[in-house]
Amino acid sequence: MKMHRFEEIWLIFAVVIIVGSMVITGYQAFALGMGPPSGKEVIDPQKVDETAPFDNPGVFEVGDKEYEVVMTLQAFSFDPGEIEIPAGSTVHFKMTSKDVVHGVQIVDTNVNAMVPPGHIQTITQKFDEPGEYLILCNEYCGTGHQLMSATVTVK
Amino acid sequence: MKQAKYGLILLLFLMVPPVIELSESIMSIHMHMQMPLLGIAGMLMVPYFKEKFPRFFEKWNANGIPGILLFMIIIIYWLFPRTMDEALTVPYVEVFKFISWPFLAGVPLRDSWGKLSERAKGIFLIVIGIIYTGMGFLYLFAEDQLCNNYLVIEQRALGWGFLFIALSILLYYAQDKLIDHSKYE
């Protein structure tokens, strides 16, 4: 296949874009630990209430300014629905769904993850700025989907 | 010579430490992506070698048989579960991987392929297809962990990968034999 000179330059440019974005993504994911939420643990979706730690959802202090939030998602609410933490805290969310596929998103943060039943999703976020953050479900889950929300209050 | 340049860039890219680490972290990617890509890097360099050493290939690989045998030996060597493990733990085996795949598998494959008769190509494809099927079943049904550095689940995935590659090779062979391309072309 004979190639035009400009065409080749353009294609090299294309490869550079693709490889470049791969390198940045890879560097951020593997060197800086900013990879996407990829919880690998599984759970029986019909027995969430009886399985630890989801038999007792809530906010738990695990260290200095470090919290673990064990959260269940169900149509159409988050449990716990209100989270209060001091500013500068790092929060480890551990979530699973009791029924259909939900999505969790905390507005103005990088928390955004799918929470399908049967899987335990994990994501970590540091809250520096005080204020009230909106947690919402961003995967359609039924009639009340638009009502499914919770809050994080950072003091 | 552009091809050879791209081949060299590909080879160097595959040798960048983070790329090595990533491509060896998952068993299937190690065996079914990194290794073949190394081979492809070698294949791209063939025109360069042919220009540099025009007589060598004609003289010593006239009918393509030695080349294809060398290719087979290298890929079979890398099929042993042991070599996969050692590539991760023994440095010189790792080095051997980066030399053998491009230069002892990729280069002879491309040089030999054009020289082989249709029959020899057919036999080659069938043999590879059968070996890969065998490896597929081995990895799928092995109760033990064959590679100490990889999980059993990855071993299963690798098994399916072998089966699909074998399927692709045998389908290729079948379409070549069954469809009479002269009818269309």
Binding site: E41 | E58, W60, N61, A62, R82, Q145, N148
Partner: protein, 212 residues
């Protein structure tokens, strides 16, 4: 020289190269998996069991030298394991049962070492022990609390433990036999219990013959 001849020569060279490569690569057509290589090397090198502190299911803490003067029949496990470890321990029980009773406790002790000290507390081990009719005396189950000691032991005995992301471990399994001086003398296939019984009994009888 014609090209045909040359090609024949190069074919031969390639085949010879292949033979040598395979010969070296498999230690003379013996070891096709790294596991075989590992066991062969272990038996050859017979490393000394490092000095570690064990905590067993009876909450007793003691160094490994406690077993000096006796053979120790060792397995590596973790109790949350759902596939290999129970099978491994069932097989240990099989061996334990079939070795002449006079040796048990006197010349040989059985020891199952957990590499998951976080979850395998003495309570957990005590419960696990009962599943396999281990008496906790002549067949003990213990954990090693010091991570460094544990790592050095696993490393020396070539036990590769890969945690997967679901809280389980992938690991290789075998029976390890340590002699009265504390050196590893044999690594046995854990699926062949009869063979293990035979071999261990033979060693013990030989030893008994020597001392008398």
């Amino acid at each position: 020289m014609s090209n045909k001849k040359r090609t024949t020569i190069s074919t031969v060279i390639v085949l010879v190269f292949g033979f040598i490569l395979f010969y070296i690569g498999t230690d003379g057509f013996q070891a096709y998996t790294a596991e075989t290589v590992r066991t062969n090397a272990l038996i050859e090198n017979s490393p000394k069991f490092p000095e570690v502190t064990l905590e067993d299911s009876k909450k007793r803490t003691y160094p490994f030298s406690e077993f000096e003067g006796k053979y120790v029949f060792i397995t590596f496990i973790y109790t949350a394991c759902s596939d290999v470890c129970p099978q491994l321990e069932v097989n240990v029980a099989e061996v334990y049962k079939n070795i002449p009773e006079k040796f048990i406790g006197e010349d040989i002790v059985f020891l199952s070492i957990s590499f998951d000290p976080k979850r395998d507390t003495p309570e957990v081990l005590e419960k696990y022990r009962s599943y396999f009719n281990s008496d906790g005396e002549t067949w003990r189950m213990a954990r090693i609390n010091d991570q460094e000691e544990l790592d050095s032991l696993l490393n020396q005995f070539g036990v590769i433990v890969i945690p997967d992301e679901q809280g389980d471990f992938q690991h290789n399994s075998a029976f390890y036999l340590v002699n009265p001086e504390g050196y590893l003398t044999d690594v046995l296939d854990f699926t062949e219990t009869d063979e293990a019984v035979e071999k261990v009994t033979e060693i013990l009888e030989k030893e008994a013959g020597d001392t008398q």
